[in-house]
Amino acid sequence: MKTARKMNIRTVAVRTAFEPLAMYLSFADEIYDISDNISEIPVFLDIEKIISIAVETGADALHPGYGFLAENAYFAQKCIDNKIIFIGPSPDAIYKMGNKTIARRLALKNKIPMAMGSDGNIADVEEAIAIASKIGYPVIIKAASGGGGRGMRIVRKAEEMEKMFYIASKEAEKAFKDPSVFIERYIENPKHIEFQILGDTKGNIVHLGERECSIQRKHQKLLEEAPSSALDKSLRKKMGEMAVRIARSVNYTSAGTVEFLLDSDRNFYFMEMNTRIQVEHPVTEIVTGIDLIEQQIRIASGEALKFGQEDIKIKGWAIECRINAEDVQAGFAPDPGKIEKLSMPEESYVRVDTGIREGSAIVANFDSMIAKLIVSGKDRKEAITNCKMALDKVWIKGTKTTLPFFRLLVRNQNFQDGNFTTAFIEKDLDKYFYYSEYEEMIAAWLATKLFIEENLQENSINVDFEDGKKMSPWLLNKRMNQF
């Protein structure tokens, strides 16, 4: 919506019952209020409702964000049927890339390198075992309609297949209403490298370089950067060409992402194409200087891209940390709560994307992201140094966050050397948070102070209130209790 405003486009946002005070509303020119409508399905998943609101408000176009509807071909088609421009790719491209078995066939036809796997969906456990023994263990079971790590299970031996097949298929059915799964050879300890694609309606397709998203846990990305220290010019060119080729196979329009795995021998394998803008798109915007949302809007309104592949230059380095409401001391368990205080660094090398402000609630059934901290530098080293400083200036109270994890990560030698894979968090780290003995000593000092004040003294807690207010800072047990 900020981009739209910059382009002099008026915006309408929907106010929901779930988040009636959400921050995105403050960026909109017009608000459509349905906050009194409490329904079973969240409105952002209710296709008919969204379309009818768009029609009623006379909207010309609709941006689906990066939620579930962004990759819903039916929704995109519904927009077209109602003469609303869907800011995204064609329903056909969404459908083909969204169905992983069709996407695999397309990649195969276009000679894109891929991990060996099943030709299509797997009917039952017996077939799964037969295919796995042909391509060799370990294998990975994936949801045909999947993405984002759900419905995925690694199987290392035949005995595990039955259980994993059952879990993956059940998870897939629940998440995507489609239990079908397929099998691929599992690439051990790869790097996750993805290419940003832009295609216009005139048939021009370019890539905007890569992002590395290897720092992930249970297939959920935590930190992304652009470019990747694992790629040199020639590999970037080769992978970029493949990414454009797969996009061309579905006449791709708008912004999309082609994901690859890169193994330790620098072989790469096509994984999937995400037919939407992604959470981590800002790092690409920073190193290319191209506003991806603006390009999406221009493409949707029929404009041709104003740059060719040779015009795209990667400059500097950008790192994005996903600050989530998670307890890193409890294995990244979600830590829902109300954001009591929020203050972000304002240095020139920092960009913060957030939909949260003080008073916002992080609820258990939405995702746990509080903010994206995006830090840049002239090279990777400077970006990491800047990131370290920026992390110490993020101030969030009300929930535990992933900040201590990032504080550890930026100090880790292997991370600094670019020496990490998607297995990094699970295998290479013995703890998930930054620990300082001095910090623990201060906490111990505070515990001792409290003990003295509660047990050995008559007078109350000795806090130096700068604003002179008489309020107890210790009203903190309310935290969590309402959830």
Partner: protein, 175 residues
């Protein structure tokens, strides 16, 4: 008579058994190497409660305070301490040496969520690392694993129900 006056030292014992000693009355300083650094507990509208230490503000909150047990969130990390006097510390040592091994393990929900599947039933034998239940929270399915070898004595978890953080899911007799 006031026996409290006799205490001139207190110890904060961390959950990982690290011991931090402080003299009483408590100074507003912490010594590192040969230098003392002033430590101040403050609060204002913008930051809430914080500690000022070496020219930097650190967020701080007291999560729990019960008897002599404190959970403190400092710079986004939580620490649990019991504060002991020299006498209680001595008593604790004696008690600890008498205490036997844990016999019953209570498996609790690590986070609020919905139980997708319960994979064990009462009477079953489980091995360490074996999944007990599948808990869904924030779009992620998490397997809750058995921390011990043992026998399932009670299953409180019901598939399809919602649980709160720290609800007991399964009880295991350690073998």
């Amino acid at each position: 008579m006031n026996d409290k006056l006799q205490i001139n030292k207190l110890y904060a014992l961390s959950s990982e058994n690290r011991k931090f000693g402080f003299s009483v009355p408590l100074k507003n300083k912490i010594r590192i190497g040969k230098r003392d650094y002033i430590i101040q507990l403050k609060s204002d509208e913008k930051y809430g409660t914080y500690i000022l230490w070496k020219n930097r503000k650190y967020p701080v909150e007291i999560i729990k305070s019960r008897q002599n047990k404190y959970e403190i969130l400092f710079n986004d990390i939580s620490y649990t301490f019991t504060v002991e006097t020299p006498f209680s510390l001595q008593r604790k040592k004696v008690l600890h040496s008498r205490k036997g091994k844990v016999e019953q393990e209570f498996i609790r929900a690590p986070m609020p969520g919905k139980l997708i599947d319960v994979l064990v039933r009462e009477g079953a034998t489980v091995l360490r690392g074996e999944p007990l239940v599948i808990l869904e929270a924030m779009k992620m399915q998490n397997e809750i694993l058995s921390p011990v070898n043992g026998k399932i004595v009670r299953v409180h978890a019901k598939s399809g129900t919602n649980v709160m953080k720290d609800d007991i899911l399964v009880e295991i007799k350690v073998e």
